[in-house]
C-alpha cells in the first residue's frame, strides 16, 4: 500500500493497458482519476477501482483539446485532490481505417502526432503547476518499442513514439529541479485492440504474413522477435508503472524502459 493517500491520473485509463495501470495503482492504495474519451468504459473501470481503493473519478477527456485537459486538472484537484502521479497512456495507431491502407496518409501522420505527442504535452502542461507548487510529482509516459527503431507499415506511429521518448527526456530535464521524475515505458507485443489493427495492417501487404489473421501475425512476431518467446501483458506494464511512481524509483528520471521480453535491448 505504498501509494496510500496519493492521487493518480491515467489518460486512456478506461480500457487495455490504461485500465490495468489504474487497477494496479488502486491496489497500491492510490485514488484514481480515469481520463478517457470513452465515458462508458471509464465509468466501468472506475467502479472496479472503487472496489479496490475506494476512491476514483472519471472525466471525459480528449487529450487533443487543451481546454479539456485544463478542465481535467481542475476536476482532479476538486474531486480527489492535486495529482501526485500522472500516467500519460492515451494513444492511437492511426486515423480511422488506417490499417486498411497500404501507405500512411497525411491524416495518419497528423492524427497520431496530435494524440500521442501533442496530447501528452497538453495533459502534462495542465498538471504542471499542481506538481511544481508542491515540489513533488511522478510522470510516466507510455511510448512503445516502435519508437526505438523506424518500422515499416507503421512509420507514423513509430515516429510518434520516438517523439514520446524525446518529449519524456525534455520534460524530465525541465521538471527535475521541482523534484518531479518523468520516465517512459516502451511496451513490446501486447494483444490489445490496437494490436489487432497492427496485425491487419501487417497482413495487408507483407508477403510473410499474407492470409494470416491479426492474431496469427502477432503470434508469429512473438516467436520470431521476442527472445523470451512470450507476449507481454497489460499487467507487466502496470507493474513497471507502479515501480516508477514508487519511492523505490525516486532517483530515476528521463529513462525509457523496454518491457518487451528482450525484443529491443537499447
Amino acid at each position: 500500500m505504498n501509494l496510500k493517500g496519493k492521487v493518480a491520473v491515467i489518460t486512456g485509463g478506461a480500457t487495455g493497458i490504461g485500465r490495468a495501470i489504474a487497477l494496479k495503482l488502486a491496489d497500491r492504495g492510490a485514488a484514481i482519476m480515469i481520463a478517457d474519451i470513452n465515458d462508458e468504459a471509464a465509468s466501468a473501470t472506475a467502479t472496479e477501482v472503487e472496489e479496490i481503493s475506494g476512491r476514483s473519478a472519471t472525466f471525459l477527456t480528449d487529450v487533443t483539446d487543451v481546454e479539456a485537459c485544463e478542465a481535467l486538472a481542475v476536476a482532479t484537484s476538486d474531486t480527489l485532490g492535486p495529482a501526485d502521479i500522472l500516467v500519460n497512456n492515451a494513444g492511437i495507431a492511426g486515423s480511422p481505417g488506417w490499417q486498411e491502407r497500404s501507405f500512411s496518409t497525411e491524416e495518419d501522420w497528423k492524427r497520431t502526432y496530435q494524440v500521442n505527442v501533442i496530447g501528452m504535452s497538453n495533459v502534462t502542461s495542465a498538471f504542471r503547476s499542481q506538481m511544481t507548487e508542491r515540489r513533488s510529482g511522478r510522470i510516466v509516459n507510455l511510448a512503445s518499442i516502435a519508437g526505438r527503431e523506424g518500422r515499416p507499415a507503421i512509420p507514423h506511429y513509430s515516429a510518434s513514439k520516438a517523439a514520446v521518448i524525446s518529449l519524456t527526456q525534455a520534460t524530465a530535464l525541465e521538471l527535475a529541479r521541482f523534484n518531479i521524475t518523468v520516465n517512459a515505458i516502451c511496451p513490446g507485443l501486447l494483444w490489445t485492440p490496437m494490436w489487432e489493427q497492427v496485425g491487419d495492417r501487417y497482413a495487408l501487404d507483407n508477403p510473410a504474413y499474407e492470409g494470416m489473421t491479426a492474431r496469427q501475425v502477432f503470434d508469429a512476431l512473438v516467436e520470431e522477435r521476442i527472445p523470451m518467446k512470450k507476449e507481454q501483458t497489460p499487467e507487466d506494464i502496470a507493474y513497471t508503472v507502479a515501480f516508477f511512481v514508487s519511492d523505490d524509483a525516486k532517483n530515476i528520471t528521463g529513462q525509457a524502459l523496454n518491457v518487451d521480453g528482450g525484443f529491443f535491448m537499447r
Partner: protein, 266 residues
C-alpha cells in the same frame, strides 16, 4: 514480500553499493550470500541481515576466477537448497594504485576488465546451467552510467562498464528461452569507497579540484551533472535491483536501467 523464501548471491556485497543491494533484498525477504574478499566488512553485513530475520553468510569469492564463482554457487545451493537471484556487483576503479596516475595504465585496463567484465561473465557462467535446468532465474549486473558514454580520463573504467552492459545483453539473449531474465543497472553518483578513491584521484591529478576533499569533489560533480540535484544512494540501486529481480519484471530482459537522477537518458 517479493523475496520470501528466496536466495540471492550478491558479489562485492561487503561495502558500498553491493551492501545496499544485499540489505534491500534481505529487507524484502531474501536470504543473501555475501560474496566478497573483504571478510571483516562482509561479516558486518551478514550480522545486519541476520538481525533483520533472514539468513545470510559470508562466502570468500574472487570473481576473476571461474573456480571461485563455481564454488560460490555450489556453496549457496548446499546452504539454502536453491538459488533464485545472482547480482554481479563486484567492481573496481582500476589497479590498486590507480588514483596515483593521471591516465590509466595497462594494469588499470587489465584490472577493470578482469573484475568489471570477466567477473560478471564468470558469475553468469557459474549459474547458467543450474538456472537453465530449473527454467527460472534472475541475473542483475551492476554496470555504471560511465558505461553509457566514453569520457576522457577514466577511459578504462568507462569501457569496462560499457562491456558490462554488452555482456548483459549477450546473456539475456542466450538465457531468455529458458525463462531467465538478465538485466543491468547503471548507477550514477553514489558516495562509496570507490567514489572516495575517484575523488582522491581527481583532486591529485586535475588542477580544477586541487585542495578539495574527495567528498567535496563528489558534491561538485552532483551539483554539476545531476538534473535532480541530489546524489543517489546504495538503497536506490538496491530497490532497482529488487524490482528487476522480482517476478513483477518477468517481461523485462536485456535492459540497462540508469539510476542516476537523469545524468544520462537512455
Amino acid at each position: 514480500m517479493d523475496f520470501d523464501g528466496k536466495t540471492a548471491i550478491v558479489t562485492g556485497a561487503a561495502r558500498g553499493i553491493g551492501r545496499g543491494i544485499a540489505l534491500e533484498l534481505a529487507r524484502r525477504g531474501s536470504n543473501v550470500v555475501i560474496a566478497d574478499i573483504d571478510e571483516e566488512s562482509a561479516r558486518e553485513v551478514v550480522a545486519l541481515i541476520q538481525a533483520g530475520g533472514t539468513r545470510a553468510n559470508y562466502c570468500e569469492t574472487d570473481v576473476t576466477q571461474q573456480w571461485s564463482t563455481d564454488d560460490m554457487v555450489e556453496a549457496a545451493l548446499e546452504g539454502y537448497g536453491q538459488l533464485d537471484v545472482l547480482v554481479n556487483n563486484a567492481g573496481v576503479g582500476g589497479a590498486p594504485d590507480f588514483t596515483t596516475r593521471k591516465v590509466p595504465n595497462v594494469d588499470d585496463w587489465q584490472a577493470t576488465f578482469d573484475v568489471n567484465v570477466y567477473g560478471i561473465v564468470n558469475g553468469m557462467q557459474s549459474v547458467e546451467k543450474y538456472m537453465t535446468d530449473r527454467g527460472y532465474g534472475k541475473i542483475v549486473n551492476i554496470a555504471s552510467v560511465a558505461g553509457r558514454l566514453g569520457r576522457p580520463g577514466f577511459a578504462s573504467y568507462g569501457a569496462s562498464k560499457a562491456a558490462a552492459i554488452n555482456v548483459s545483453q549477450a546473456w539475456a539473449y542466450k538465457l531468455a528461452p529458458h525463462g531467465i531474465n538478465v538485466n543491468a543497472v547503471c548507477p550514477g553518483l553514489i558516495w562509496t569507497p570507490l567514489w572516495e578513491s575517484i575523488g582522491d584521484w581527481r583532486s591529485s591529478t586535475d588542477e580544477q579540484y586541487t585542495g578539495l576533499t574527495p567528498r567535496q569533489v563528489f558534491q561538485r560533480a552532483v551539483s554539476d551533472i545531476v538534473p535532480l540535484g541530489r546524489e543517489q544512494t546504495p538503497e536506490d540501486v538496491g530497490a532497482a535491483v529488487a524490482f528487476l529481480a522480482s517476478d513483477r519484471a518477468r517481461s523485462i530482459t536485456g535492459q540497462a536501467l540508469n539510476v542516476d537522477g537523469g545524468i544520462r537518458m537512455n
